[in-house]
């Protein structure tokens, strides 16, 4: 057993994959998590996990095309070496999960069955019923339990990570955390600390995420000096079930299995949906995007649904925005076999059977492409250098970030079923990198007793002063609701600079108010009130980064859509006119990329995020315009290909 130790914060797919790999390498792990790791948010993932596979390969698919779809879907904003490595590992990741006992759905012959997800033309997605995330998480949880029995893992469940422990050189030597039951605060020595704490959905009040997805852990690292990348890229999922406490996801697999999105052509048609004849239904995705139909990428589907309801006034209901997602043309047996779980959710929470009635859905905040900035080391082949200690290291030495809380892999927009993959891949790949890191270190973090004790004491003092602040005038739960409203209005589907400016002011004001929140519980035992207030306070730095990042980025890219800066369709009808317009279009596209094909990198000055921009590594797949649904797309594509061919000796592989 190694004498050095790693602290892993978060036991979702990323944290657990990393933990089990480290144990296999003989490195002991302290695993800290807000909730028992088996209850992590990853259980919510329904749809599946992507990889190129034997079936798709024979239709022309390859790992290269998986890379290509991923960066094209992400509007080229992601550094390509990590994506390339992930795409090439994907088949191996699924084989490993299969060996670990994940009950993937099977074909008649006993092979892993696949379905198609948005943003690709291939059936790459492996799935286990409608609870793929749960099944993957359980398989990893079981392996970690095995290592726990063997004595390599110590779990600290119901512990809240309060911040990294930094030494005089600014390097991380451990973590401070607090027990949610006893309220004890202590330091954990860690020669490396891995943050795997998932997404920040609660910043938006209600989202598709679980209640522990506050983003607080990432924010605490951000406030301690770690940089944060691409905050403004927040994915809004096109299909969620609007609810009072949560916006429950209706997985993209509902469309993958043939679900059709439509609205009645007559606004707010009062007839029951089944009695509206086909000719009077507007299947707007199929009509507007004949090639991809209902399976256009998420950002496009979201905007179209938003547009249909908000701009065209075709919402199914008057008081509540929604469209139909219809599965009723598929046999009940097939639906039960492939989508049983998610249809049960709809039925359970809405009281209506989606096998016989079209569902009502609307977009909801779903995923953060941005996250803690993290490094990587490319190899000569466009992929990653295996075992590099730089892989996924944040801007703070010895502090790493993986999973939804880092900023890699998904660029400006994540493709469905790629996140489970990126979480497991990065956890596994990081193991040997950390081993090399630990081997290169002198001394151990455990020797830093004074440093560790000081850090714990500092957090204890902060905690005590928070508890003493009784009689504050503000209610943390109400401030949280206000924050959610502001963020949802200004920083989701459609973004405008005036709204974003106002939102930044409002968020800052709420931040100030939150600092004088009164506690209704000042006890020292399982005090959820004080822990919530802490998490709330830590939502603001990230909320500010999201809004400021969005405000500054004057363009449209992936999930970040600013109509004032959108690229126009072509208007000319004659070939020569079209050609000239397409040339201009491409000039503008190039110009925009020179300015904005850059990651946003934020640092925190104690009150505001400061933003710089970083070039994006597009060494494998040269950027090209995303032209879904644009008039004149063919001509633009033609012109663009000619330019690419001219500019590179090597022809672009499209």
């Amino acid at each position: 057993m190694s004498k050095r130790k790693v602290v892993v914060v978060g036991g979702g797919l990323a944290g657990l994959a990393c933990t089990m790999k480290l144990c296999e390498l003989g490195i002991p792990v302290d695993l800290i998590s807000l909730v028992p790791v088996k209850r992590s948010h990853s259980v919510c993932a329904q749809g599946g996990i992507n990889s190129c596979n034997d079936q798709t390969r024979q239709l022309g698919d390859s790992e290269w095309l998986h890379l290509d779809d991923t960066v094209y879907g992400g509007d080229f904003l992601q550094h390509q070496p990590p994506v390339k490595e992930m795409a090439y590992w994907a088949p191996k990741v699924i084989e490993l999960m299969d060996r670990l006992g994940v009950p993937f759905n099977r074909t008649e012959e006993g092979y892993i069955d696949r379905r198609r997800f948005g943003g690709t033309l291939y059936k790459r997605t492996a799935f286990a019923g409608a609870t793929t995330g749960q099944q993957l998480l359980y398989a990893l949880d079981e392996q970690v339990r095995r290592w726990e029995s063997a004595g390599l893992v110590n779990k600290y469940e119901y512990w809240d990570f309060l911040g990294p422990v930094l030494d005089g050189n600014g390097a991380c030597r451990g973590a401070v955390a607090q027990n949610l039951a006893t309220m004890e605060i202590r330091s954990f020595a860690g020669d490396a600390v891995v943050i795997a704490t998932g997404g920040p959905g609660l910043i938006y009040g209600r989202s598709t995420m679980s209640m522990m997805c506050t983003g607080s852990a990432a924010s605490r690292c951000f406030q301690a000096g770690a940089k944060y990348g691409n905050p403004e890229f927040i994915q809004v999922h096109p299909t969620a079930i609007p609810g009072a406490d949560k916006l429950r996801l209706m997985s993209e697999s509902a469309r993958g299995e043939g679900g059709r999105v439509w609205v009645p052509r007559t606004p707010q048609d009062t007839r029951p949906p089944k009695s509206i004849p086909d000719a009077e239904r507007y299947y707007f995705l199929e009509e507007r995007y004949p090639k991809y139909g209902n399976l256009v990428p998420r950002d496009i589907a979201t905007r179209e649904i938003f547009d249909i309801c908000v701009n065209e006034g075709l919402s199914v209901e008057k008081d509540r925005l929604c469209v139909y997602l219809d599965l009723t043309h598929i046999s009940k047996a097939e639906l039960d076999r492939k989508l049983g779980g998610i249809l049960d959710i709809y039925e359970k929470f809405q009281g209506v059977d989606p096998r016989t009635n079209p569902m009502k859905i609307f977009p909801a905040v779903h995923y953060s492409m941005g996250g803690l900035w993290a490094d990587y080391e490319a190899n000569g082949d466009g992929g990653l250098q295996a075992g590099s200690p730089r892989y996924q290291q944040t801007s703070v030495e010895n502090l790493y970030a993986i999973g939804e809380c880092d900023y890699h892999y998904h660029g400006a927009n994540r493709l469905g079923a790629n996140s489970l993959l990126s979480c497991i891949f990065s956890g596994l790949f990081l193991g040997p990198c950390l081993q090399n890191k630990l081997n290169s270190q002198k001394g151990t973090a455990a020797e830093q007793t004074a440093l560790l004790a000081d850090a714990a004491r500092e957090h204890q003092e902060r905690h005590n002063s928070l508890l003493q602040r009784t009689g504050g005038s503000e209610n943390p739960y109400l401030i949280h609701r206000e924050l959610g409203d502001v963020m949802t209005k200004a920083a989701t589907v459609v973004r405008r600079n005036d709204q974003l400016k106002a939102a930044y002011e409002k968020v800052s004001e709420l931040h100030d108010r939150a600092r004088s929140c009164g506690l209704s519980d000042t006890g020292q035992w399982t005090n959820q009130n004080v822990m919530f207030t802490k998490a709330l306070l830590d939502m603001f730095p990230l909320a500010k980064a999201i809004v400021k990042g969005a405000l500054q980025r004057d363009e449209c890219r992936g999930a970040h859509y600013k109509p004032d800066f959108s690229m126009p369709s072509l208007s000319a009808t004659d070939p020569a006119g079209q050609r000239a317009e397409a040339e201009q279009w491409c000039d503008r596209f190039e110009e925009n990329n020179r300015k904005w094909l850059k990651s946003t990198v934020c640092s925190y000055d104690g009150n505001h995020p400061q933003i710089t921009y970083e070039d994006v590594d597009t060494s494998s797949v040269p950027p090209r315009p995303r032209l879904y649904g644009l008039v004149g797309a063919d001509m633009i594509e033609k012109v663009w290909k000619e330019r690419l061919a001219k500019s590179s000796a090597q022809p672009a592989r499209v």
Binding site: K38, D98, E148, R248
Partner: protein, 283 residues
């Protein structure tokens, strides 16, 4: 809108909560008055209670502590006893509950686990029991060794429902044979020491349907099977399958509709064969 027995629309309703300040402390009841809104569930009720932190008589109080996560009945966090019945609070819709009793909803913590505070209980025993039955596939390692064993659709369809168990504990709350084990913490006992002592106490008590069903799941897996003997030993040992009185309460309350009694039947037969083999000089 929900109506009461006299046909009046319900504008607000009472929520009676069984509270407890700390482990071992005496439980007490508090009542809260909650304004009715459409589409509420017990989670949104508890959120409202946390926001107001006032009882129905206007007395200031601390927010009720409770556990929740996914809010879509898949993480298993939010189990509690609602109107006398154990279930997930996220899927307990207020409209349905008020149909039974338009006046009042009662919330209690599960009784088979030590209370941490209010509605939060300590279910670490369930995870410990998964260690007892070695609920994992014993792969050689995490290197790339190619695909897993080929499995038929039928095998997948048998395994999948068992694999949906979210460790919520409803089945254990309902099981008459599964009894509470609560150890008081000694002064100056460290976390690790206390955890160790609890673990040892759990290890001879009834496993319960959840862990038995997981043992069955892994004994059916082509690779998991390779450790079937170890799991059957655990099922045959103290607190094993023989404790089950076949009351079938467990299967009736499982929110995931896991066929627990089928699992228990399969486990029972396997243990019998295992014992016979041991007597006749098998492994």
């Amino acid at each position: 809108m929900i109506k009461d027995a006299y046909g009046h629309s319900v504008k607000s309703f009472q929520v009676r909560v069984q509270r407890q300040d700390a482990p071992g402390a005496a439980p007490y009841w508090q009542t809260f008055n909650v304004e009715y809104e459409p589409d509420m569930n017990v989670i949104s009720v508890l959120q409202k209670i946390a926001t107001m932190s006032r009882t129905s008589t206007g007395k200031e109080t601390t927010p009720v502590a409770w556990d929740c996560g996914c809010l879509e009945e898949v993480c298993g966090s939010c189990t509690m006893v609602i109107n006398g019945r154990v279930r997930q609070s996220c899927s307990a819709l207020v409209d349905r509950l008020l149909e039974d009793n338009p006046r009042e909803i009662t919330l209690q913590p599960m009784s088979k686990f030590p209370v941490v505070r209010d509605l939060v209980v300590d279910r670490s025993r369930m995870f410990r029991n998964l260690q007892r039955v070695k609920a994992w596939v014993p792969v050689d390692g995490y290197a790339d060794m190619g695909a897993g064993p080929r499995q038929s659709r039928g095998e997948q369809e048998t395994a999948y429902p068992l694999s949906e168990c979210m460790t919520c504990g409803c089945c254990l709350e309902a099981c008459p044979q599964f009894l509470k084990v609560e150890l008081e913490r000694k002064p100056n006992e460290s976390d690790a020491e206390y955890k160790q002592r609890c673990g040892e106490a759990y290890d001879t008590e009834f496993l319960g349907p959840q862990a038995i069903s997981q043992a069955v799941l892994f004994n059916a897996h082509p690779t998991g099977k390779m450790m079937a003997g170890d799991r059957l030993d655990a099922l045959a040992g103290p607190g094993g399958i023989q404790v089950c009185g076949n009351a079938q309460n467990c299967v009736a309350v499982c929110p995931k509709h896991i066929p627990l009694t089928t699992s228990i039947g399969r486990a029972g037969r396997a243990v019998t064969i295992h014992k016979i083999k041991q007597i006749f000089g098998g492994s």
